[in-house]
């Protein structure tokens, strides 16, 4: 039986899209506290403002993250959500589950929490929404002892790393994203659980430049699959596409009649580097001009595949706009091998180079991309011990204000103004 009238929320039970309101009501039949979620949300809909207090520091012993405190500002009206803390549980890489594991996790959350979740939070964690402070330690005990699972990150630490599903079900992935993600998650458990950084730091692993996990837009450390050699071409399949026997773009456009497939218009002319052409019915690619944008491969997945010499690009420093404006991650290492054979030691070396420097010079609540902005890309390239290359910039600078170093200039910076005046009257 509903505990509160929720006429506005009830409107959101209509319509074809799945209704979170119906779903919370369903859960409330099992756990009556959920009626108070709806009651407080209805009040917010009436008042047009949130009814959650600011923050609240709660956690489990020994960890500095993984739990986000949340308290109602109207607890007398809605005692079921007086405490409504978030628990972040580190998701398995690629977000595959056995139903056995998922059911066990749901049973735990039924025992300790509200029964509401997010599958998943924006960073990738399993987000369990709403439990009381006194439930946190018992939940954590059961999570680690019964399920062998652990919390994710929150606060100024390494946030829970995330990956696209990669080679597990995608033909384009240029490295094993789920192994890289899992390995580094395990390698950096301390950094995930105990905040020691100036601010948050995110790893994301995408298998190809399509970047399905938005690494370039969202992560401080983006590993994005790439390749070095030639795009693999199956000329017989090219002919099938040209003949219209295979749908373009993997069938993604089949809902509208766009006319017959036109390889010139849809592939050659949309190539950003114009490095493709037809010779008779053979497709040719000048791979030395290719920037591996993926368009042609996306459009003809049965005819074209990434090359065989595979690895990744590393881009550093993405973030949302707060505070100085949004940043995409900057290309720092154009190509690096990413393999479990060396336990990702070359990637780890890059990570720790960044951290050693950023933990020293980064200001409180400064993302590494902001530190890069503040000190400048030239300084960052030097910190990383890299040779500057044109690939680091979109274009060369257009102002002449170079910070010349003293040792670069013959005779250094020390000069004698009296000697100067003997030759140049004031």
């Amino acid at each position: 039986m509903a505990k509160h009238d929720t006429p506005m929320l009830d409107e959101l039970e209509k319509g074809p899209w799945p209704s979170f309101v119906s779903d919370i009501k369903r859960q409330a039949e099992k756990n009556p506290d959920c009626w108070d979620i709806l009651g407080q949300l209805e009040l917010s809909y009436r008042d047009k403002i949130t009814h959650w207090k600011h923050g609240g520091i709660v956690g489990v012993f020994g960890y500095g993250g993984g739990i986000v405190g949340r308290y109602s500002d109207v607890p007398k009206q809605f005692p079921g959500v007086e405490h409504f803390h978030t628990v972040r549980v580190n998701q398995p890489a690629s977000k595959y589950y056995s139903t056995e594991n998922l059911r066990a996790l749901m049973d735990l959350w039924e025992k300790h929490g509200s029964g509401m979740t997010n599958m998943h939070g924006s960073t990738g964690d399993i987000v369990l929404l709403g439990c009381r402070t006194e439930a946190l330690e018992p939940f954590f005990w059961d999570l680690t002892h019964e399920l062998g699972q652990d919390l994710g990150g929150s606060g100024s630490n390494l946030r829970t790393p995330a990956n696209c599903l990669g080679q597990s079900r995608c033909e384009w992935s240029c490295f094993d994203t789920e192994e890289a993600c899992h390995h580094l998650t395990m390698h950096y458990q301390d950094e995930i659980h105990r905040p020691a950084f100036p601010y948050k730091f995110k790893f994301k692993f995408s298998g190809c430049p399509n970047d399905c996990v938005a690494a370039l837009a969202r992560s401080d450390f983006a590993v994005i699959g790439n390749w070095k050699d030639d795009i693999r071409i199956d000329q017989a399949a090219v002919k099938e596409y040209v003949a219209g026997n295979i749908p373009s773009n993997g069938g993604a456009h089949s809902g509208r009649d766009w006319g017959a497939f036109d390889i010139k218009k849809e592939v050659l002319d949309l190539c950003p580097t114009e490095c493709m052409w037809m010779e008779g019915d053979e497709l040719k690619i000048d791979n030395s001009e290719c920037t591996r944008c993926m368009h042609c491969i996306n459009v003809m997945p049965r005819a074209l595949r990434p090359g065989k010499v595979q690895g990744a690009s590393i881009n550093i420093g993405a973030k949302a706009p707060i505070l100085d404006g949004a940043q995409f991650a900057t290309l720092i290492i154009p190509f690096i091998e990413v393999t479990a054979e060396n336990e990702f030691e070359n990637v780890i070396e890059v990570i720790e180079n960044i951290w050693d420097w950023w933990m020293e010079v980064g200001k409180n609540r400064e993302r590494v991309g902001e530190t890069m902005q503040r000190v400048g890309l030239p300084t960052f390239i030097k910190v990383m011990g890299l040779d500057p290359i044109p690939q680091h910039v979109r274009e060369p600078r257009s102002n002449p204000y170079v910070f010349w170093q003293e040792e670069e200039v013959p005779g250094g910076f020390d000069r004698d103004v009296e000697e100067f005046r003997k030759r140049h009257a004031a």
């Binding site: 929320l9 319509g15 074809p16 899209w17 799945p18 209704s19 779903d23 859960q27 949300l41 917010s44 809909y45 403002i49 949130t50 009814h51 959650w52 207090k53 600011h54 949340r70 580190n90 398995p92 890489a93 595959y96 589950y97 056995s98 139903t99 594991n101 059911r103 749901m106 509401m116 599958m119 998943h120 929404l129 018992p138 002892h145 062998g148 699972q149 652990d150 080679q167 597990s168 079900r169 995608c170 033909e171 899992h182 301390d190 430049p209 370039l216 837009a217 969202r218 993997g250 069938g251 993604a252 456009h253 809902g255 944008c293 993926m294 949302a320 707060i322 100085d324 949004a326 995409f328």
Partner: protein, 375 residues
């Protein structure tokens, strides 16, 4: 057994991390990992991946709210147990994927899903609108300027046909963040729905001493609008802060650092619409979303102004863009002046950047188009 509050550190287990992913791969995935040849979307929401071995993995993608109950997740498990050997996965956009290893298992799975009311809409593939990624909103966050789940539900109800079909020029990624912190990172989305504040913070002098470190509150402001000040509380002079309202850009960063500076407000808060961002490197480089509608009011429960604005932009784009063109690529090709004209969105001074790095967006050429904006 279980947790002993008298002895909290006994037998404690920490830092075990997530379970290894390989325990959760369906058999066809485990067998063919790294050996996939190609894929095809055979109908909206249904994908086939073909492996070198000749094996096929058929995936049925289903939309879900992000806010879901354990009862619903158990129902998803029932479906996976009945059809998918007890495995399923979630996508980065809160969709659920059910996988089977042969084509003849697809229709029974689709029939089962369809029999469960509107809980499991099949779609979200190819040149359509897939699930909206979003944040918590009023249901769980302390800084939001709007709700999240409710706005998303209202928008997806209206755009539902685009979820279950693939008739657009390209995929359209919509995202919602309920305040400028952008936990949802909507800054690179085709259409971004963003909660915004419009009133400066209030100062709760009676609480600030206990809950704030004043230097952190002061340095939290990117524009130096928060300054040290003194105030009288119960006859005693206390150290506090004041806000130069003229310099406030309503980012809310001060409130994040100082609970005594609340800025949310029923009339001040609402929604801005940004468009034209993309994440993929395909054809053009990744792009940021651009502010085209600075403010729409919060109108629960169905936010009709926001729903209409999103639908309008989507449908003008759908009728005008070329095959493969993302919204941002289309807007750049036709020119942003044409974007505003075609979408019938008034251009206001608020779309002209006056924050940092603003100059990058100013037009420094004589190339332009004559639109109705030029009188």
């Amino acid at each position: 057994m279980g947790y002993d509050p008298e002895n909290p550190m006994a037998d404690r287990i920490t830092d075990v991390g997530p379970p290894h992913y390989s325990k959760f791969h369906p058999p066809v995935i485990a067998k063919n990992k790294g050996k996939w040849l190609w894929h095809e979307i055979t109908q909206p929401g249904v994908l086939v991946h073909k492996a070198e071995s000749g094996d096929e993995c058929w995936t049925v993608r289903v939309g879900a709210a992000r806010l879901i109950s354990i009862e619903l997740i158990r129902e998803m498990c029932d479906v996976a147990d009945a059809h998918c050997d007890g495995y399923l996965r979630f996508t980065t956009r809160n969709n659920v994927e059910f996988m089977v290893d042969s084509k003849d298992k697809v229709q029974p799975l689709l029939d089962d899903l369809a029999s469960r009311g509107n809980k499991f809409p099949v779609g979200g593939t190819g040149a359509g609108v897939t699930n909206i990624v979003h944040t918590q909103g009023w249901v769980h966050c302390h800084t939001p300027a709007t709700d999240a789940s409710g706005v998303v539900k209202a928008v997806m109800d209206e755009l539902f046909d685009y979820f279950v079909t693939m008739s657009l020029p390209a995929q359209v990624r919509i995202a919602l963040a309920c305040c400028l912190n952008m936990c949802g990172a909507v800054h690179a989305s085709d259409i971004a729905i963003l909660g915004v504040h419009r009133k400066p913070p209030m100062i709760d002098h009676s609480r600030i001493t206990g809950v704030c470190e004043l230097p952190l509150a002061i340095s939290a402001c990117p524009l130096g609008a928060v300054k040290p000040a003194k105030a009288e509380v119960n006859g005693e002079e206390i150290k506090t802060v004041k806000v130069n309202n003229d310099r406030c850009m309503f980012c809310g960063n001060c409130y994040t650092m100082c609970p005594a500076m609340p800025l949310a407000d029923p009339d001040g808060d609402g929604i801005a619409i940004l468009v034209g961002g993309k994440v993929s490197n395909s054809r053009s480089a990744p792009k940021f979303s651009k502010l085209v509608i600075p403010f729409l009011p919060n109108t629960p429960p169905r936010w009709p102004e926001t729903v209409e604005a999103v639908k309008n932009i989507l449908e003008v784009y759908a009728g005008d863009a070329k095959k493969y063109e993302r919204i941002g690529e289309w807007a750049e090709r036709i020119g942003w002046e044409k974007f505003f004209e075609k979408c019938n969105i008034p251009f206001t001074i608020k779309s002209v950047d006056d924050y940092r790095l603003a100059y990058d967006t100013w037009r420094t050429t004589t190339q332009f188009k004559y639109t109705s904006h030029i009188k």
